[in-house]
C-alpha cells in the first residue's frame, strides 16, 4: 500500500477477490437458512407425502419396476425433484429480489468481478440444493428403508444438478420483469419436464414414440443417474448421464457469466 492509499481500508486486489466471493456465498447461504421453514422444510413435507401416498398407499398395487419395489424406485426421483426446485428457487428469487430492491448494486459497486458475483450467487443455490438433497434423502432412507449403493456418484449428481438449476434460476432471475414472469419458467418448463422426467415411471413403461420424446428431456438423465447411484438401476447408461449433466451445468453457467458481464437487465 503506498502512502496515497493509506486511508483506504479495502485492499488492492491483484489476483481475484476471494474474501468478497466467500462473503457472497455466505450471504446467500445466510439468506435461505434465515427462513429455513420456508426453504428446507417444504421439500421434506412434499417428499414425505409422496412416499406416503405413492409408496405406502398406491405403491403396493404396482408391481416391481426393474426388480425393485415401486417405493424404492420412487425415492431417487423425489430427491432429484427437491434438489432441482431448491437450487432453482434460490438463485431465481435471490437475484430477482436483489434487482427489485436495487441491492444488486451492493455487488456491482464492489471490487468483485462479474464472474465472482455470478459464481457466488450460483454456489448459494448449490448449497440449498445440497441441503435439500441431504434432508430429503435422509427422510427417504428412514421412511422407505432405501440404501444408497454409490454415495460418491449420488453426491456428484446432486452437486452438478444443483449447479445446473442454480444457473437456470440465475438466468430466470436476470430475465424476469416482474414476479409473475419469474414463475413462468417453473410453471411451463421445469414442472412438466420434472414430472415427465422419469420420477414416477421407467421410460420402458412408455409407448415407443413417447420413449423417443422422453429421451430429449435432460431431467430423465439426471433422475436416472441418481437412481443408479441409489439403487444400481437406470434407463440410461451412466457415462451418458454424466456427460449430459455436465453440459447442462456448463452451458447455462456460461450464459449467466456473459449476460451478467454485459449488464443485461442490471446496468443501464
Amino acid at each position: 500500500m503506498n502512502s496515497s492509499d493509506e486511508h483506504i481500508y479495502a485492499p488492492k486486489l491483484t489476483c481475484g477477490n476471494f474474501v468478497g466471493f466467500k462473503t457472497l456465498v455466505l450471504r446467500e447461504c445466510h439468506r435461505f437458512l434465515r427462513v429455513w421453514n420456508q426453504t428446507l422444510v417444504p421439500p421434506l413435507i412434499t417428499t414425505m407425502l409422496y412416499i406416503l401416498i405413492f409408496g405406502y398407499s398406491l405403491g403396493s398395487r404396482i408391481s416391481e419396476v426393474q426388480n425393485v419395489s415401486y417405493m424404492e424406485f420412487l425415492v431417487p426421483g423425489l430427491v432429484m425433484m427437491g434438489v432441482i426446485n431448491g437450487a432453482y428457487q434460490n438463485t431465481s428469487s435471490s437475484l430477482y429480489i436483489a434487482r427489485f430492491h436495487g441491492n444488486i448494486q451492493e455487488l456491482l459497486v464492489s471490487s468483485m468481478s462479474s464472474f465472482e458475483i455470478v459464481l457466488g450467487i450460483i454456489l448459494g443455490g448449490v448449497a440449498r440444493g445440497i441441503c435439500t438433497g441431504v434432508i430429503v434423502s435422509a427422510a427417504a432412507v428412514v421412511m422407505a428403508g432405501v440404501e444408497i449403493l454409490h454415495l460418491p456418484t449420488a453426491l456428484f449428481f446432486i452437486v452438478v444438478v444443483s449447479f445446473a438449476f442454480a444457473s437456470f434460476g440465475f438466468l430466470s432471475g436476470l430475465w424476469a420483469e416482474d414476479f409473475d414472469s419469474l414463475s413462468l419458467f417453473q410453471t411451463y418448463v421445469l414442472t412438466p419436464l420434472t414430472y415427465l422426467g422419469g420420477v414416477f415411471f421407467s421410460v420402458g413403461m412408455l409407448p415407443v414414440l413417447w420413449q423417443k420424446i422422453a429421451m430429449a428431456n435432460p431431467i430423465l438423465y439426471f433422475v436416472n443417474g441418481l437412481r443408479y447411484a441409489f439403487l444400481g438401476i437406470s434407463d440410461i447408461s451412466l457415462p451418458v448421464a454424466v456427460v449430459t449433466v455436465l453440459f447442462s451445468a456448463i452451458i447455462p453457467f456460461v450464459a449467466c457469466c456473459v449476460l451478467f458481464h454485459r449488464g443485461y437487465h442490471i446496468k443501464t
Binding site: S4, D5, H7, I8, Y9, A10, P11, K12, L13, N17, F18, V19, G20, K22, T23, L24, L26, R27, H30, R34, I97, A98, H101, G102, N103, Q105, E106, L107, L108, V109, S110, S111, M112, S113, G263, K267, T268
Partner: protein, 306 residues
C-alpha cells in the same frame, strides 16, 4: 497531481435519448465538488458510470489515474456511492448489511465488524444494529446507506441527493459530517437539488443541463457571474406616497403603507453603497436588508434556461 476524477468526451446514449453528450470534468483530490442540474440533466447517469452501475457509450473516465474499465477493481475500492434511493435488502439486519458490504470489498470479517461498530456509533445507530432495515425510520435508512458507502473508507465519496426528504436536524448533521470527512482528505462529489446545499458545502460546481456541462467554476466565481440581483428591505416605518416618488430611477417594488420593499439592480452599474445612498436620500429608514432568493439559484436558473 493526478486528478481524483477525470472525465473526457463521455457519451451515454439510450435508444431514444442522449443522456450525456461528450461531457468533460476534472475533480482534484480533496475537492468538495457539486454537480447541479435539473431533473433528467444527466447527473445520476454520470455518477452511475463512475461507480460502475452504468455502461458508458463512449469516452474516458479515470479515478486517480486508473481507467474505470481496465482497472475496475482498483477504481471500485477508491469510490463509495450513496445512491438516492434506498437500495438494500429490507429483511437484512443493519449490522449484517455493513459487515457483508465490507466483505465484498475484500476486508477481513474482524475489520468489517470493527468498522461497522465505529460507523454505527458515529451515525448514532448503535442501538439499531440488530434491527431489520425495513423497521428503520426514513432518517435512519438515509444514515444507514451512508454508513454502507463508508465501510471500505473510500477516497472519493459520491452522494446522489443525500439530503432529499430529510429533516433539518439530520441535514445539518450530514453537512457537518461531510465537511469533516472532506477536511480529513476525502474527495466528495455531490449532486443535489438544493442549491443552498451546494452553496454551503461545495468549493467547485459543475452545472449540467440536457447532457452537457454548461458551467464549471468555483462557487464564488459562479456567484460573482451574477450581475442582476434583488434585495428585500424592511423599513422602520411604513412607506408614504411622497417617499415612493423620491426613488427616481431605482427599480423598486413597493406599495404605499407597507414597510417592505424589493430593489432590483445591476451590480456592475450600481454598486450596493450607491443603492443605500439613494434609499437614504429618498428618506427611508432601513431596519433590515436580505437577499431576495439564493444567489447561486439565480445563476443556475440563468444558465439552464439559456
Amino acid at each position: 497531481m493526478t486528478p481524483a476524477v477525470q472525465i473526457s468526451k463521455l457519451d451515454k446514449h439510450y435508444p431514444d435519448v442522449t443522456a450525456l453528450d461528450g461531457i468533460a470534468l476534472e475533480i482534484q483530490p480533496g475537492d468538495f465538488y457539486g454537480l447541479l442540474g435539473p431533473n433528467g440533466a444527466g447527473k445520476t447517469t454520470t455518477i452511475n458510470i463512475l461507480a460502475g452501475l452504468c455502461n458508458k457509450t463512449a469516452g474516458d473516465v479515470a479515478i486517480f489515474g486508473r481507467d474505470i474499465d481496465d482497472d475496475y477493481r482498483d477504481c471500485r475500492r477508491l469510490v463509495g456511492l450513496v445512491p438516492q434511493e434506498f437500495n438494500f435488502d429490507v429483511f437484512v439486519r443493519l449490522r449484517h448489511m455493513l459487515v457483508f458490504q465490507g466483505g465484498f470489498f475484500g476486508l477481513p470479517r474482524r475489520t468489517c465488524e470493527a468498522r461497522a461498530d465505529e460507523l454505527l456509533a458515529e451515525f448514532d445507530l448503535t442501538d439499531k444494529a440488530d434491527t431489520q432495515l425495513r423497521n428503520l425510520s426514513g432518517g435512519m435508512k438515509r444514515r444507514a446507506i451512508i454508513t454502507r458507502a463508508l465501510m471500505h473508507r473510500p477516497k472519493i465519496l459520491i452522494l446522489d441527493e443525500p439530503t432529499a426528504g430529510v429533516d433539518v436536524d439530520l441535514r445539518r448533521l450530514l453537512w457537518q459530517y461531510l465537511r469533516r470527512l472532506n477536511a480529513e482528505g476525502t474527495t466528495i462529489l455531490l449532486t443535489t437539488h438544493y442549491i443552498e446545499e451546494a452553496e454551503a458545502l461545495c468549493d467547485r460546481i459543475a452545472i449540467i443541463n440536457e447532457g452537457c456541462i454548461v458551467a464549471v467554476d468555483t462557487t464564488r466565481n459562479l456567484v460573482a457571474r451574477l450581475t442582476t440581483e434583488a434585495v428585500h428591505i424592511t423599513l422602520t416605518a411604513p412607506l408614504t406616497n411622497g417617499t415612493l416618488e423620491n426613488f427616481g430611477e431605482l427599480q423598486v417594488e413597493a406599495t404605499e403603507g407597507s414597510n417592505e420593499l424589493t430593489v432590483t439592480f445591476n451590480r456592475r452599474q450600481m454598486p450596493y453603497h450607491s443603492i443605500l445612498e439613494r434609499l437614504i436620500a429618498a428618506g427611508v429608514c432601513i431596519d433590515n436588508i436580505r437577499p431576495a432568493g439564493n444567489q447561486l439559484e439565480q445563476v443556475f436558473v440563468n444558465l439552464t434556461r439559456q
